[in-house]
């Protein structure tokens, strides 16, 4: 295999991984504030993608499509916090897991009505460029250029601002944070809104990179593997987890598919299995994660 082939394989693996990370970040933010997993994420991602497609076609504006995806994702996430997560506060983590699984199926019906399982592309002009050994398309550039600032913003927001410090306090000890006068419930709502924001952006960038199709749901499910590999309570680690997953899938497929056809796409779950055996709380997660 030539250098050009390897370079492009690694580039595409990283790019895919970055998009996994973006969606995975949504899982992690919710985990940090509620200590449980939001299983409705894949349908929120799909809904946001279909809404962005509808807006892009109707308005003819790419920016409007991004705004629509983000707004829908934030709105649904906040609604979930108010109607599902908040009433379950204080219950075991499995309660929220079960409830969000229920929401997953309810939203699936909504997505069918809104999107009708259509397969389409977000209408943008795609040009191809050669950069050294790499073949890069416009949608590659948009995906990367869109994702990296979001990561940076979330990490800075989390580590360098008062809001981030308050969020961290809630994540560490919600009752203690409340005793110090922090508006815990509002911070939790803000956490879900932030998760919706990154999920919505992840959704539109995935749609631009591939297609708007029901398959996006499975990307979002695989992103959960990236989240678990990183550790559910690690925000920075999720970037490494996602990229590791994207690279493992692409390189694994390249090397193993000739001997075991189709094995590459299962690598996400093999990697997850190995990581959870060795470090049940993920590569960068805290040891205190509760098993459910």
């Amino acid at each position: 295999m030539s250098l050009e082939e390897w370079s492009n394989l690694v580039f595409q693996g990283i790019l895919l991984g970055v998009l996994y990370s973006l969606v995975a970040m949504g899982y992690n933010i919710v985990y940090r504030v509620n200590k449980s997993i939001n299983f409705a994420v894949p349908q929120v991602v799909l809904l946001a993608a279909y809404v962005s497609l509808i807006v892009a076609v109707a308005v003819g504006s790419f920016i409007a499509a991004i705004i629509a995806a983000v707004l829908v994702s934030i709105a649904v996430s906040m609604a979930l916090e108010r109607t599902v997560a908040r009433p379950l506060l204080g219950r075991p983590p499995v309660a929220l897991i079960g409830a969000t699984l229920g929401v997953f199926y309810a939203l699936k019906g909504v997505v069918l009505i809104v999107g009708g399982s259509r397969v389409a592309t977000i209408p943008i002009d795609i040009d191809y460029y050669e950069v050294g050994p790499l073949d890069i398309a416009t949608n590659d550039v948009i995906s990367l250029a869109g994702a990296l600032p979001v990561f940076a913003s979330v990490v800075i927001l989390h580590r360098k601002t008062r809001f981030g410090a308050a969020m961290r306090a809630v994540a560490e000890d919600a009752e203690g944070a409340a005793a110090y006068g922090l508006p815990v419930k509002r911070l939790m709502l803000a956490g879900w809104a932030l998760a919706g924001l990154v999920g919505g952006l992840g959704s539109i960038l995935l749609a631009i990179k591939t297609q708007v199709s029901p398959e996006l749901e499975y990307f979002a499910i695989r992103a959960l593997a990236a989240s678990l590999i990183a550790g559910l309570d690690s925000l920075g680690g999720v970037i490494v987890g996602g990229i590791a997953l994207g690279l493992a899938e692409q390189i694994g497929s390249k090397i193993l598919d000739p001997y075991l056809p189709g094995i590459g796409r299962d690598i996400a779950f093999l990697v997850l299995l190995i990581v959870l055996f060795v470090r049940p709380y993920g590569l960068f997660g805290s040891e205190r994660i509760e098993r459910v």
Binding site: L16, I126, D135, P214, E249
Partner: protein, 423 residues
Amino acid sequence: MARSNALYIGLAAIVVIIVAAAALFFMGRGSEETAGEEEVITINVGLLVDETGPTSDVGIGYARGAEAAFKYFNEKGIYTKDGVRVEINYIKRDYAYNPTQAEEFYREFRDRYNVIAVIGWGTADTEKLSDQVARDKIVYISASYSAKLVVKPYNFFPAPDYSTQACAGLAWLREEYGGGKIALAYDSKVAYSRSPIPAIKEASKILGLEVVGDFDLPLRASEADAERVAREIKAAGADFVWCGNTISSCSLLARALAKVGADVVMLVNVWGFDERSPDLVGEEAYGMVAGISPFIYPVFASGIEGFNVIYEAAELAGIPREEVTLRFVQGFVNVWLLVKAIESVTSEDLLSRGGEALKEILESQTFDFGGITAAPVKFQPGFHVPYKDVYIVMLAEDGSLVLEGKYSAPKGIDCARVTIERG
């Protein structure tokens, strides 16, 4: 307290008995009733679709077409050979392309609704159920055109099997472009995608095409997957590519082939190419992709008599003409075949022998769909390949779809049998 509990239990029992009696009344097979002066037979038919699973990219349109057909023919009136009206009560289930779920729904169709026929979907589930439907004597008309089904006594579809279709496509490639190297891209884990591969390899030898390899393209491919496969195909020096998946992954592959600068012509299986392809593959891939179809595309419907029926049905269902797609046509024609069979049996046969009577009719008559299928449909007992022609539709340089014409599998090879023996 005990007395009021007994009262509640008694009331609940009465409700359960009423509901059960109503269910039995409405679900009975072949029930007869008289509506005014007219005698009406009601039969139950299962409709198994994928609207939420990995083949929903083509499954939704198919389901829409099948449902429009049921509604249309019920509305227009279906009459048996001896003039008795038949009402089809169809029971729709979305199995999300999960064969185990399909088996469960099939058991529900059979045991709860006593269906005499099923309009089915995917290859893995239809193949898995084929022996069971034969034992149950239930006619099964599928969207899977797998060669392995053509020797199953109760399985039918109004199209050549995938292998015969692929061989006809290869004949077109040979005629249009001469010999060369062909790469086979498909999902090796999916029965539908694997189905025609043995026949393609055998027919390639006869046609002077060299198979350069099998390339695993997931049905749920990401763009990264498609680009990796495209580079491998380019490195193998292929002149032609066979894509055996559905439209989502095949269009990603076409886009990726254009991106990596592969100078190839890609031939796509019936479920991997349709009216959406020009938008999905992108301008760079124009002029390098062609699709196979046993049914004429609605964009070429002008002058095709059978489309009058489909458009009338669509209108009745409130579906605009522009939403009548190839997938819609595929679902519609499957139901239409069943309706034509019902119209050729007597009411007595339909009630007493159900699926068995329909099978005999399907194997003894020729069915004409007014020019929609590439040839009239005629099944031979024991070998249900109804015809061997397909249409080839090319995505031209300007992004339009061009009907290349009708092509047949090469002589000297029975592609369906090759797959049955070696698949």
